[in-house]
Amino acid sequence: MTTQEILDKLPYGKSFLFVDELLHVDENGAKGTYTYVKDLPFYEGHFKNHPVTPAVILTETMAQIGLVCLGIYLLKNETSQNVSMAMTSNAIDFLKPVAPGEQVTITSEKVYFRFNKLSCKVKMENAAGETVCKGNISGMLISKENG
């Protein structure tokens, strides 16, 4: 399965897609990038006159690249089915703020994939290679016929 095929299977619409490139994926993890362009709508309110990328968006970005892309790859043999994922828990430390316009790189490492639950260690780095947030994210993969 190519990285483009994985991107094509992502279930997100344009306004909530936080994956630009998927650099690598194998049985044990995934790596990809995303750039938070300056005109993303949440910057207008988070915060007034002081735009910072919300932690919840950083978490979502880590989940989309680290967990969902990996999950689609792990279920590659069920290619006729569409995959969606429900995040079930996360524990993330946020170390540095991410400003509008920054590109981040996400790397995930599978902890386990059992009974359709995928648990990963995930890390986000900025363009300078500094870790901006890291932690553990888990979700349940749901494959849907014709879905």
Partner: protein
Amino acid sequence: MNKEEIIEALKIIVEPYSEEASALVHINENTDFITDLKINSANLVDIVLDIEEKFNIEIDNDSMAKMLTVKATTEIIAQKLEAHAG
């Protein structure tokens, strides 16, 4: 390991995943993980992984699908332990 011992061990495994204090105190064969202990499917996976580690057994997909009550879970653990010993 007899049935009571398995249930006792199970109680310790399940405890961190449930907020239902009174259902936990009165845990018995008829306790249902989802309706009585309000455990979600994601945490049920973690409970099964903890069971594998605690009892040194392997749970397959078919067994996992049945493990919704203390009774069914205890039976599966007992079967696996027996198969292991034999």
